[in-house]
């Protein structure tokens, strides 16, 4: 097992390298000069007030300061060299270290990701199991119908409805902000409920499949109570596809969600990535992509490891 994990981590190195190179090349292939954009962009409302008086000297100075006057391979090399030491460079815009931008915001994104993930697993698995054991009844159909609604509901709309009902209407939760449990409730619901729909549908279909297996009949024949049969023998085996999807969802959630952050006025990583893309803030885009790629790789490895726990037939030893 440990050999397998080690191998997986080694394989991650070329993946991350490839991702970095690809992003680097894409950014530099853009027909937009980040220095010029920085000095003159007024579209975002963040432009200097009299950008038009920018001189060539100022432009060249800025370019040198940002290291953009160096050849591309040197720029990429120095990015990698610093990245492996945990230094992701400094934002062109704010001049803040990208690593500290991530560090400042990761807790808000992570707490939201955990909260909404827990919510989506809780709701999703319970509804999925419920639908599966009542397979073919109106309850099953009802749950699945609601889950279609959940999957197709845009999260910004759902978020705004939550705000209108629970902040403006009932006054139970603040419409915006972060820090503290109360501010977490609405965004977690807005993110978790739509995600739970996918989990519910997957749990149901997987469990229905497992229920037909011979070992389920055996378990029942042993005289086990139905709940134990479903939970221990059925659900555990049915969870593998669910864990895969949950892992992917979790990776996405940890990257932050601009939509949810914007709707609820929350700090988080989503804003940093999207804003960096808008501003052609190369170091921040590169840093965020590398960070997220690393997250995905790690989560995927964890998911793979969990398969072995869920299904003893899955073994990673023996060099297979």
């Amino acid at each position: 097992m440990s050999r397998y994990i080690l191998k997986r981590f080694l394989f991650a190195v070329p993946v991350l390298l490839g991702v970095s190179l690809l992003v680097f090349m894409m950014l530099h292939a853009l027909p937009v000069d980040p220095v010029k954009l920085m000095l003159t962009d007024h579209a975002s409302g963040t432009a200097p007030t009299a950008a038009g008086t920018m001189t060539d000297e100022m432009y060249e100075n800025m370019k040198r300061q940002l290291g953009l006057d160096k050849p591309l391979h040197i720029q990429f090399g120095s990015f990698l060299f610093r990245a492996v030491q945990g230094d992701l460079g400094r934002s062109y815009r704010s001049d803040k270290a990208v690593a500290s931008m991530i560090a400042d915001n990761i807790s808000f994104t992570a707490e939201l990701a955990f909260a909404s993930m827990s919510l989506s697993i809780l709701i999703g698995v319970v509804l999925g199991v419920f639908a599966a054991i009542n397979g073919g009844t109106w309850l099953d159909a009802g749950i699945m119908a609601v889950s279609v609604l959940g999957v197709s509901m845009p999260s910004f709309w759902f978020g705004l409805v939550l705000i209108l009902v629970f902040s403006l209407g009932l006054g139970w939760f603040p419409p915006m902000g972060a820090g503290g449990l109360r501010a977490l409730v609405l965004p977690a619901i807005a993110m978790g409920v739509p995600a739970s729909a996918t989990v519910a549908r997957l749990t149901r279909s997987s469990l229905v499949e497992v229920m037909r297996q011979d070992y389920m009949v055996t378990a029942r024949a042993k005289g086990l109570r139905e709940m134990v049969v479903v939970a221990k023998h059925g659900l555990k085996n049915a969870l593998i596809p669910v864990v895969t999807i949950v892992g992917l969802q979790f990776g996405a959630l940890l990257g932050g969600s601009l939509v949810i952050e914007t709707v609820f006025g929350r700090p988080g990583l989503g804003y940093i990535s999207v804003n960096a893309i808008w501003n052609k803030d190369f170091p921040t885009v590169q840093g965020m992509v590398l960070f997220m790629a690393t997250l995905y790789v790690v989560i995927n490895i964890l998911v793979d490891i969990s398969y072995a726990w869920l299904d003893p037939r899955v073994r990673y030893d023996g060099g297979s």
């Binding site: 954009l37 432009a47 200097p48 940002l66 001049d95 009902v165």
Partner: protein
């Protein structure tokens, strides 16, 4: 059947939720954020300000933006104030002298000012601030504000001389902004770069005390503040003890924050809600009209058909600017009439009468110019070429404006094609000269910037390439350069009036609408005013 009824129940539930939400807006009384004061004479309170944009830094000497400066204004006091355009009032400088040629400025400074960290304000601090802006290591975007800066000489503790390599008349005006406002040298030197960007130290009525997260900035009253400019209606520290900026980018959420009482002031409410909020006694609103350029459409003078004066003039007559402005802003923003907006110094109101809405006149001009209506297509033609104008702009307000203009131009047989795309893509199209109409809009204090950016020939290829009309007119260039070097204020004003008329006679732009920023607050929030750039002054605000 059961499936259907369940769906119906869900739909009903959502509908009920939305009705509850709608009613709540009308009925929920916003809880007062401050208990009623026992001593009504004492003005004070804490303000929670729902602000429309997130900011990464508020170091005014290095970075600024239209919205960032609205926060910086509370923290930074300038050497010179400009309560209305062209009127300069002592700030941290008590008096000043400008050399004959406009290249040396001598300032007498106040001797009783300390920065938020206790560092005394003096000539050295002024020198430090300016030197820091021009130092390439600071990566300051404010270098243009200080123009042809040469050096600052400390004459004595409270006298400085600022030298420029050439005359620089806009300096006083630039000084009145936050960009050149003095900062504490000790703070810059002792703090880490990242930290200083968030906790700049200056001499304004509020100091930055906390950024608990990226969406929150907390300012506190600076108790030692006692150098408010004469036009403020009080002396000593600000009334508000604390200002908490909550960055809420989503318009609806920001409005809900105000209505639910989580904020007691917001800026930029959804435009379609402004009239409702104005009628509601629970709220007060305050609209600031910003100086600079209105939103302007820029006909490309180097491409057919917009190279023809008659076509450009016909478009000006055909577009009902009042109507466009009203439709775009739900009646809040006034129409644009010329190169600079009505809140800008030297704006000439006579400009508004040059091109009244007159469809007949537009048709006449086009007929005279040989553009013949093709009745089957509804588009005029000349030499087999249709009268087609491609408008290239980023999607949003610009394309909305474009669509309204499109309908108006269709009436006179102009095929106005709206090509909406990402801002970056428009930049490429502009650089390739592949458009007949561009657009621009800018909040600016000095009229020079508006003319230089959009009409100086150097800005066709240089700078931000904002001269999208692609005008290369020696007369315009000369007037702009004269204006920037003219020391005499009246003479400067004359030059800018001449420019406004000349540009409109040449029909180099189609002005669309001016811009404004509305603040809405609970009715117990009093005393809001704004500076000449449309930045709120929270110094005079208190909560009743």
């Amino acid at each position: 059947m059961t499936n259907k009824s369940l769906m119906a129940a869900v739909v009903l539930l959502v509908a009920v939720a939305m009705v509850i939400a709608g009613c709540g807006g009308q009925e929920t009384a916003a809880p007062s954020p401050q208990p009623p004061s026992d001593e009504p004479a004492e003005k004070g309170g804490e303000l929670v300000f729902g602000h429309q944009q997130k900011h990464e830094t508020i170091d005014a000497n290095v970075w600024t933006g239209t919205n960032t400066a609205r926060i910086m204004r509370q923290i930074y006091d300038p050497l010179v104030w400009q309560p209305e355009p062209g009127n300069f009032v002592p700030g941290l400088a008590t008096s000043w002298e400008v050399s004959e040629d406009g290249s040396v400025f001598t300032f007498q400074l106040r001797d009783d000012v300390t920065f938020h960290d206790g560092t005394p304000f003096n000539a050295e601090a002024v020198k430090f601030t300016f030197d820091r802006i021009v130092d390439p290591d600071s990566r300051s975007l404010q270098v243009p504000r200080i123009g042809p800066y040469e050096k600052t000489e400390v004459i004595d503790e409270f006298t400085v001389e600022v030298h420029f390599t050439e005359p620089f008349p806009p300096f006083l005006s630039n000084l009145s902004e936050v960009a050149l406002a003095p900062c504490s040298p000790t703070a810059v030197q002792s703090k880490e770069r990242d930290e200083y960007a968030r906790y700049p130290v200056a001499a304004g009525p509020f100091k930055v005390v906390d950024w608990p997260d990226d969406n929150t900035i907390v300012l506190e009253r600076y108790e030692d503040y006692n150098w408010a400019p004469s036009f403020m209606n009080h002396e000593g520290p600000a009334y508000l003890e604390k200002i908490t900026y909550k960055m809420i980018e989503e318009n609806t959420t920001r409005l809900v924050a105000l209505e639910s009482g989580d904020a007691n002031m917001i800026d930029a409410p959804p435009a379609d809600e402004i009239s409702r909020l104005k009628e509601d006694d629970k709220y007060e609103s305050f609209t600031i009209f910003t100086p600079g350029m209105p939103l302007i459409f820029q006909p490309n003078t180097t491409r057919i058909p917009t190279s023809e004066l008659a076509v450009r003039q016909a478009m000006l007559y055909a577009v009902n600017r009042e109507q466009v402005a009203s439709l775009l802003s739900f009646g809040v923003d006034p129409p644009g009439h010329g190169p600079i907006s009505s809140a800008t110094w030297t704006y000439d109101p006579a400009i508004a009468d040059l091109y009244p809405h007159d469809v007949d006149r537009a048709n006449e001009l086009l007929d005279e110019a040989g553009w013949v209506m093709n009745e089957s297509s509804g588009v005029r033609e000349k030499d087999g070429q249709p009268l087609r104008v491609r408008f290239v702009a980023s999607v949003g307000l610009n394309t909305q404006a474009g669509e309204i203009v499109q309908a108006m131009l269709e009436e006179v047989g102009i095929d106005f094609v709206v090509e909406g795309m990402a801002y970056e893509a428009t930049v490429v199209r502009m650089a390739d000269n592949d458009y007949e109409m561009g657009r621009l809009g800018y909040t600016l204090l000095d009229p020079h910037d508006a003319f230089y950016l959009a009409y100086h020939s150097s800005q066709i290829e240089g700078g931000g390439q904002f001269n999208r009309s692609r005008v290369s007119d020696p007369k315009i260039d000369q007037l702009i350069e004269e204006g920037s070097k003219e020391v005499d204020t009246d003479r400067r004003a004359e030059i800018y009036k001449e420019l406004q008329h000349y540009i409109m006679e040449q029909a180099l732009i189609i002005p669309i609408k001016e811009s404004s920023l509305t603040h809405v607050m609970h009715s117990d929030v009093k005393g809001l005013e704004a500076d000449s750039l449309g930045r709120p002054w929270l110094y005079n605000v208190w909560i009743e």
